[in-house]
Amino acid sequence: MVTGAQLEVSGLTKRFGGLVAVKDMALRVGAGEILGLIGPNGSGKSTVMKLIMGIERPDAGSVRVNGVEVAGWPSHKIARMGAGIIFQHSRPLHRQTVLENIMLALLPDQLMRLFADPNTEARARVIAARVGLDAVLDRRPATLPFADLRKIEIAKAIARDPKVLLIDEPFAGLTSTETAAFSELICELRDDGRAVLLVDHNVKSVARLVDRVLAMYVGERIAEGTADEVMRNETVRRVYLGGSIETAARPEATFRDSDTPFLAVDNVSVFYGKAQALENVSIHIHAREFVSVVGLNGAGKTTLFNAISGLLPYTGDIRRQGASLRGRTPAAIARHGIVQCPEGRELFTDMTVRENLDLGGQHLSDAERAEQIEWLFDLFPILRDRHKQAAGTLSGGEQQMLTIARALMMKPKLLILDEPTLGLAPVILEQISKTLEKLRKTTAITVLLGEQNVTFALPHADRVYVLEHARIVWEGEPARFAAEAGTGYL
């Protein structure tokens, strides 16, 4: 046992089936210290957090909270050892008031406690005042703004008086003033002598708060040090910015329809309840163009694609070749050639590869369908070998290929790919990358790609948009990306 380290993790490993989500992780957070754990989507950082808290069981390794080995314990026992967590999504009790929600966290885990300790309410009030909820104590959570809901979660965590506090994406969905107030709260918690682990996507969002940063990529630690050191680290830069990338952009003027683009998204805003997911986003895509939208998890990529596909209500306008798509059903939009490969893949896992493809080609005549499938089997030879296998038994990479192939069965004019690289190994990425290259060169298809993996998003793109906190913050050629938008992305 190392003195001073409130949280000490070593050799931590977790497998999900064949996928190694976390491999031999090690980290230490001392009392009164904030460690930032960063990594792109799918890097395993959330899994590390869940393993520490006992929400997932580690396959191997050690987790010490306050010097006590807790690996493999159920989470309520780990919580009692002094670990606490603030989840990204808050789900308070909706029938109870804010005060009652905080009181919940102060209750002991006892069955015979039919009357709360009379001090509980007073203590809850003190905590509420500390996080700035004192004005809304008697309100119900549903009537509160998003930032207040996050404050309830912080209040609950403080109520358990944890020695080790894990915070998942502390600033997601908050405005800059709210972020500042939150940062201050987190610093106060550190100054109380707690060990704080902040989990987020990039260094930038946590740089001002953390004492040290640890960067992860596909389940492994790739760098550790001060925020500056990690930002300068070669491996980190390659993971986030793609190092030196060959780009093959075609200038925008070469696309014939430059006056009326194939798809125009005009001033589109989307709200989820109280959180704004898109703010006045405008993008356009010409016929045959390959456009990448780069953005971290939660930036709004999926929301943008779902708005285009007609799956979400939005303000503003989306036009296909000049005609507004407002009021069209998702099915009509897809039939008219705007086809999305969703992030979750959404394959029919119990059906075979062939059946999945046949379903995608429902509207085609038998001859056309057979021809299309032949073409796709040439594009993805592995799918030909696996055509009788159930989709659920394919590897992640093969499933992604099948998802793309199924979308192509619909003969789309515009193919929307939402994070096709999610959770895939680099070697698979290369295969998919080559397929996209082939598609771009040999077909008239238009592609809109959403990615946080820059290495994957830039090489084929003609134009790149950067989406950050619901807004488009940069637009340009891929070659200029690293120089102009890179630092904001690290």
Binding site: H76, I85, L93, Q96, M103, L104, D109, R140
Partner: protein, 308 residues
Amino acid sequence: MGGLSTRRVLLIAFGVIVLAAFLPLGVSGYILGLLTIAYYFGVFAMAWDLLFGFAGEVNFGPTFLIGTGAYTAGILDNLYQPPIWLCLIAGALAAVAGGVVLALPALRVRGPYFGLTTLVAVLMLQNFIVVDASLTGGEIGLTVPDVMTISDAKNYEIALWFMAVSGAILFALSRSPVGLILQASGQDTMQAGALGFNVVKHKLAAFIISAFFSGLAGAMLVFYFGSASVGTLVDITVGVQIIIAAVLGGRRTILGAVLGSVFLIVMSELLRPLGDLSNFVVFAMALIVVLVFPNGLLGMLTRTKDNV
């Protein structure tokens, strides 16, 4: 705001019970009999709401607990004729034991499987009763030598006060710190665990309490009817009626379940002239209430501005 309306509901509930206690002075034995059954059903539905509304577990087998309690009490009385109160206690304890045996493995499985497990338990109990006819009376039913009383009015008062006390206990429990933890466990298991609460322990406790009241009410019903049968106490449709009563009355309200039970039983009786159609009409009405007022009858009455 919410606290005020709760107090008002409790006051009204108390007033209604006092009024109901004077009913035997003015109404016929027939109506008293109807309400007696409705009150026992109310206990079934309240016990079910503790599991569904608070622990978040859909128990499709309330009649497994009721049936275990009822048949244990009935068989005991048939075999040894001990005092009735002893039979009642034995029935309640048997239901608790059955509930623990069922819940321990069932609470470890996730999602719809808990519900399925409870459903299968009812079918198994039903089968056991039918097959072991020499002990249970089989499909014909079990006749017990004793009843609590033959007076309609006394039976009515027993049912009323039993319901009132059960309701008071279950309601107090739902508003206690334990009830709060239970709700948190039901809504977000992961977070409840991370806050240091042993979710399985709390849900198991809720199941035991639910089983106790279900079994006790089931056993009492046997000594009201003087008999027990699969069709009145164990069948899946009886369980469905209990569930409808609880949802109709208002999920997460405990007291609403009584309202739903009285509504269901009185309506079926009022509509009896319609013959086979009566059940159809009652269920259609229940469906409309649930669709239009998802918070149920009580939720509809106590709706406040900020209650979403």
